[in-house]
């Protein structure tokens, strides 16, 4: 049923060219892989869904290393998208060293990065969308899964205006959101009121009267089919992000509301029901198993990229990655009785291969122009590879923790387990833009406070349960809170209160005393009155004194029981 032939054709072509031989420069990649290899797909059926999600305001091409550890628990254990490295390659029959292997998993990242170059870039994405629309003029819906207006220096400075302008030019048909809401209620409402397309959130309610705060669904007609797109914003936005910024809006999974919307869409004659979701993959898998009548879930939030859809009952789950690395194209044959068949392609946006759309290049340059000097200001240099993704730590976060420990004179540092933020290659100059790509946000205060060992344990247990609760409806996405100066052992399969053991102060190698107070520095507290300098200033100061910056990965975290 799942046609991967075309994806694999490109893979085979690339493998034939490259084999497993010596690395080539990205110029060579440009000459060898063609745009046709990446975009060529024989159109199928009467409807095309193009899905872009979790761009995190990355207008320009990026380096982005996928995680080498991404554990699933409960029903999700060992299943996609919880596969990394060799397991991922094996599951999807992808050749090591191939272009897909580079794009989709972490093994040989550095070697392959040199070979295949950067990924993403809004002007390349524009080219792909133009190609799809030219091929499928009356059949295409372009849907944005959210986390679009946040994650860069310019998005922060313009309160999302740069991304809104760029996305408007790409003409999405609908979007939903998560980090968008960290711009605050007033700003979100202002932008949403101005959008020439639908901002959907079936699960967002005014919390005074429990009335819908946004449109839940939008009906479209494409290729003779009636399509209902239901929007599902990130259910735990007021918990994972500051509630005080959106005091009047309540979220939640609200499974009954999804059921109601699906039924209502069917009653209105929808032939195809699409959930444009920011739930996170495991939550969506559970939704698909419990809510009948959804044909396609376009998944976001957890940043997974899967080379083929996963089928749960009659529902197709599509996961399209993050940071502009991919666009999914799902061609569907839909008639009155529903979906008859489909073809899928996860299109990797190889920046050196896919041509730049001139208009979009100009627009991106325009929105960046006022900030260009600051964006390019060099503040340091990377020594080793700096990356963020992984369940327990990443070298970007180890760097942030080092900066917090030193600049805020703390014994222990905490850094949130975000999944956004591109990578930096060894030797790369670190600019203001690079720093902001991993920490730009509207609540950046780097606090310094005292916490007892018990409070620290409570935090770790709480976050671990948000990540490893066997019931996905109790998960919040994201990864484990990052720590500096402290090590611990974690058993993800245990219950809350029992997962974390052996908490150790790394400097003294002494066990953490639950009753003792420690000086703790961290950032991105959801608490309103948090005081402290902005985290990017803390990082910049640290880099000024440590460059090229040597980062030692925190090896004090042990995972057991998996």
């Amino acid at each position: 049923m799942i046609s991967r032939r075309e994806f694999m054709q490109a893979a085979a072509a690339l493998a034939a060219i490259y084999g497993t031989t010596t690395p080539m420069g990205s110029l060579n990649a440009k000459q060898k892989i063609t745009e046709d290899d990446l975009l060529g797909m024989k159109p199928f059926g009467n409807v095309t869904l193009a899905h872009l999600t979790d761009v995190h305001a990355q207008l320009m091409p990026v380096w982005f290393r996928e995680p080498s550890i991404n554990l699933g628990v409960g029903e999700a254990e060992g299943k996609p998208p919880h596969l990394t490295g060799e397991d991922f390659l094996k599951r999807y029959n992808i050749e090591a060293g191939s272009a897909e292997a580079y794009a989709l998993q972490s093994k040989d990242f550095l070697k392959l990065a040199k070979q295949y170059g950067q990924m993403g870039g809004m002007d390349r994405i524009a080219t792909v969308l133009k190609h799809i629309r030219a091929e499928r003029p009356n059949n295409t819906l372009f849907l944005d899964g959210g986390d679009t207006w946040h994650g860069s220096y310019t998005a922060l400075q313009t309160k999302g205006a740069d991304m809104v302008e760029v996305m408007n030019a790409l003409k999405p048909d609908a979007m939903t959101g998560h980090w968008e809401f960290t711009l605050g209620e007033e700003r979100v409402q202002e932008i949403v009121d101005s959008l020439p397309f639908a901002f959907l959130g079936a699960n967002i309610f005014n919390n005074e009267w429990e009335e819908p705060a946004f449109d839940a669904v939008k009906m479209f007609e494409r290729g003779g089919a009636k399509i209902a797109v239901i929007g599902q914003a990130f259910p735990y936005t007021p918990i994972a992000n500051p509630r005080w910024m959106i005091p009047n809006w309540s979220f939640g999974i609200r499974e009954d509301e999804i059921k109601k919307q699906v039924q209502s869409a069917r009653d209105k004659g929808a032939n195809l029901v699409v959930l444009l979701s920011h739930n996170g993959f495991d939550v969506d898998r559970k939704v698909a198993s419990r809510v009948k009548g959804i044909d396609v879930i376009l998944c976001g939030h957890t940043h997974d990229a899967m080379p083929e859809p996963l089928k749960v009952g009659n529902t197709l789950l599509v996961a399209s990655g993050s940071n502009g690395k991919f666009i999914s194209r799902l061609d569907l044959d839909v008639d009155k009785s529903g979906v008859k068949g489909f073809k899928f392609r996860l299109i990797p946006i190889f920046s050196d291969v896919i041509s730049q759309d001139k208009d979009m290049t100009a627009l991106v340059n325009k929105v960046r122009a006022p900030y260009e000097k600051e964006l390019n200001r060099v503040v340091g240099q990377a020594d080793g590879l700096l990356y963020r993704r992984g369940n327990f730590n990443g070298t970007v976060d180890d760097l942030i923790c080092d900066a917090l420990l030193e600049e805020r004179d703390a014994e222990i540092a905490l850094s949130p387990g975000f999944r956004w933020g591109p990578s930096l290659l060894p030797g790369q100059k670190i600019t203001v833009e690079d720093i902001h790509n991993v920490c730009a946000m509207t609540y950046p205060a780097a606090y310094r406070t005292n916490m007892t060992g018990q409070q620290l344990k409570d935090i770790f247990e709480d976050v671990a349960d948000n990540l490893f609760n066997p019931d996905p409806y109790y998960q919040q996405g994201g990864d484990m809170v990052r720590v500096g100066g402290l090590g611990y052992t974690i058993n993800p399969k245990k219950k809350i209160g029992e997962r974390i053991t052996n908490m150790t102060e790394l400097k003294t190698n002494k066990p953490i005393d639950l009753k003792k107070e420690y000086v703790v520095a961290g950032w991105a507290s959801v608490n309103k009155d948090t005081k402290g300098p902005a985290i990017w200033d803390v990082i910049e100061k640290y880099l000024t004194n440590h460059t090229p910056v040597q980062v030692k990965a925190n090896d004090g975290i042990k995972v057991v029981g998996m």
Binding site: H178, W179, N207, E210, F234, Y236, P238, I239, A240, N241, R243, S250, F251, G252, I253, D256, E407, R408, D409, P416, G417, F418, R419, W420, Y447, R448, T449, N450, M451, Q455, D458, I459, E461, D462, V463, D465, N466, D471, Y473, Y474, Q476, G477, G478, V481, I496, G497, V519, S525, V526, N527, D529, T530, K531, G532, P533, A534, D537, V538, E540, K541
Partner: protein, 151 residues
């Protein structure tokens, strides 16, 4: 760039308020004896069967101080067959009794919405008494979490 001297850093530190948000999220989910006694008192010691009553609450509370709840009991709500009372119990609160809703066949439907405070992660229990003297119950876990690290 701000110049952060060590003195600034320490001064800022004294006003940092981050610790204030850390509630204790860790607690056993078993019902307290108080809650168990309350159920017993409501049912007069009779068994309450699972089902018939549906309790809707968020899986994770956005604000433990005001957690929305709504319930519906399946019933024709006729003179012969109707829901008499529904009690809502917070299984882990120091005072577990949240509310009792009284109905009659004239109510038309047995449903209601309210808000409640939850001290920590716990089960919320709803028990319904029907006009035939039978009892029905359901429970749902609501997590009260520190939050702040998703994304």
């Amino acid at each position: 760039m701000k110049d952060l001297s060590r003195r600034d850093v320490l001064a800022l530190g004294t006003t940092a308020a981050a610790a204030a948000l850390f509630v204790n999220p860790l607690a056993a989910h078993a019902e307290t004896d108080l809650a168990k006694d309350l159920i017993k008192k409501f049912t007069g010691g009779k068994n309450a069967a699972e089902g018939k009553i549906k309790l809707e609450m968020p899986e994770i509370a956005e604000n433990g101080n005001t957690v929305p709840l709504s319930f519906t009991v399946e019933s024709p709500m006729t003179k012969k067959d109707y829901v008499k009372r529904v009690i809502i119990i917070a299984g882990g609160n120091p005072r577990p009794e949240v509310a009792t809703f009284n109905f009659s066949h004239l109510s038309g439907v047995a449903k209601a919405s309210s808000r409640m405070r939850l001290a920590k992660t716990q089960n919320v229990i709803a028990v319904a008494e029907l006009s035939d003297g039978s009892f029905h119950m359901t429970k749902t876990e609501v997590k009260v979490t520190i939050g702040g690290c998703g994304g």
